[in-house]
């Protein structure tokens, strides 16, 4: 089991991560723009999130299996695994009443 993990780790380091350009997304006034993105199935996705609010926000989605804190006035890369077709909601956990979004996979 351990050797399997080691091989996995070696493979992971050797594989260039995320060849595709990241999707640009902005957070302002606790709202995502664009709030809806459409991506292709079976490909890893990267969202480059720029937080223009003064406060930190957590990009959170249990269906996308991702949680990433982006500090106020900062930016961060949200890396998402390859997905099968469907709709995957996400939210800003600290302001979930307004910060809502959707990833559509086709």
């Amino acid at each position: 089991m351990k050797s399997v993990l080691l091989v996995c780790a070696a493979l992971a380091i050797a594989t260039p991560a995320f060849a595709d350009a990241p999707i640009e997304m902005t957070l302002k006034d606790h709202k995502f723009t664009p709030a809806q993105v459409t991506v292709k199935a079976g490909q890893p996705i990267t969202i480059h999130l720029t937080n223009k609010d003064a406060t930190a926000e957590e990009f959170d989605s249990t269906s996308l299996k991702v949680e990433k804190v982006v500090a106020g006035g900062s930016d961060g890369m949200v890396r998402i695994r390859p997905l099968s077709p469907g709709k995957y909601p996400f939210m800003g956990e600290y302001h979930s009443s307004t910060a809502q979004g959707l990833v559509i996979v086709k």
Binding site: L5, C8, A12, T55, T62, A71, G76, Y94
Partner: protein, 278 residues
């Protein structure tokens, strides 16, 4: 106010369940509350530090600092839980029988407690930093929401602590002889779930990009968003859509803990009734 309540409740439960298991697992060990207090205090202080430097932390390692940090502290907790379980396999019987250790056993017991204090600290640190960031965000907006936020946060804290206490009291209902084997199992699954979560953070950070396809999806049966799903996620690492690398980490952690426990068990043939997850 409701948002604050829900978020604080959720994070407190996640850390509280782990504290409850640690308390149950160390029944009868002298000075355990002191160590658990160290763990909680350290975790709270650490959470404030992590929250204060969230931006700086995130920009480390080509923007993957946060993921690396999360994965590292989770793996640290996995090691500490493993160590505790293996140690218990060698010494559990004496402890269960005498409920107070003497001489070398005391210092060895303290070492195991120190390991568990780190686990408590890490759990509080992880969930606590989210609470701090969230509360800071609301507080900085100012206005009338501040008192509502305080009330919401306090209610969330009380409710979360209450549920954790119920879990702890429930564990205590288990007869002392069996309690150790139940907590040994709980700690094994807790560790396995943390290892799988660490893998997820590594993948999110751009590392370990293998076996990422979702193996199955049971969100229709029990969503990880639901309270039940979240509780099971914390306790046994329930994941409604795991990927291959996570499954390997989960199974490997259980296998390693069981293997080491049996090995330690064999070295202490007298302790044949001691707990082991097997």
């Amino acid at each position: 106010m409701l948002a604050t309540l829900v978020i604080v409740f959720r994070e407190v439960i996640e850390a509280g369940l782990i504290v409850g298991i640690v308390l149950a697992a160390t029944q009868g060990v002298p000075r355990r509350s002191l160590w658990v207090t160290y763990g909680v205090t350290g975790g709270v202080l650490g959470a404030c530090l992590v929250a204060a430097f969230a931006g700086e932390l995130a920009s480390l390692f080509e923007g993957s600092g946060q993921e690396i940090f999360n994965a590292t502290i989770l793996l640290l907790a996995v090691c500490m839980l493993t160590w505790h379980n293996v140690w218990m396999a060698g010494h559990g019987r004496e402890m269960a029988r005498e409920m107070k250790a003497v001489g070398a056993e005391v210092s060895a017991g303290q070492r195991s407690l120190a390991a568990l204090a780190i686990v408590v600290g890490v759990a509080v640190l992880r969930e606590g930093s989210e609470v701090v960031l969230f509360l800071y965000g609301i507080a900085s907006q100012g206005g009338a929401s501040q008192s509502a936020m305080l009330i919401g946060g306090a209610l969330g804290l009380i409710a979360g602590a209450g549920v954790s206490a119920l879990m702890f009291l429930g564990l205590l209902q288990i007869p002392a002889g069996k309690l150790f084997s139940v907590t040994a199992w709980l700690i094994t699954l807790l560790a396995a779930g943390m290892a799988a979560q660490a893998v997820l953070f590594l993948q999110q950070g751009g590392y370990l990009q293998v076996l990422q396809s979702t193996l199955w999806d049971t969100s229709w049966l029990l969503s990880q968003d639901s309270i039940g799903g979240r509780l099971l996620h914390t306790l046994i690492g329930y994941n409604d859509a795991p990927n291959g690398a996570q499954l390997i980490a989960y199974v490997a952690t259980i296998a390693v803990i069981m293997g080491l426990t049996r090995w330690e068990h064999a070295r202490h043939p007298r302790g044949s009734q001691i707990p082991r997850p097997a």
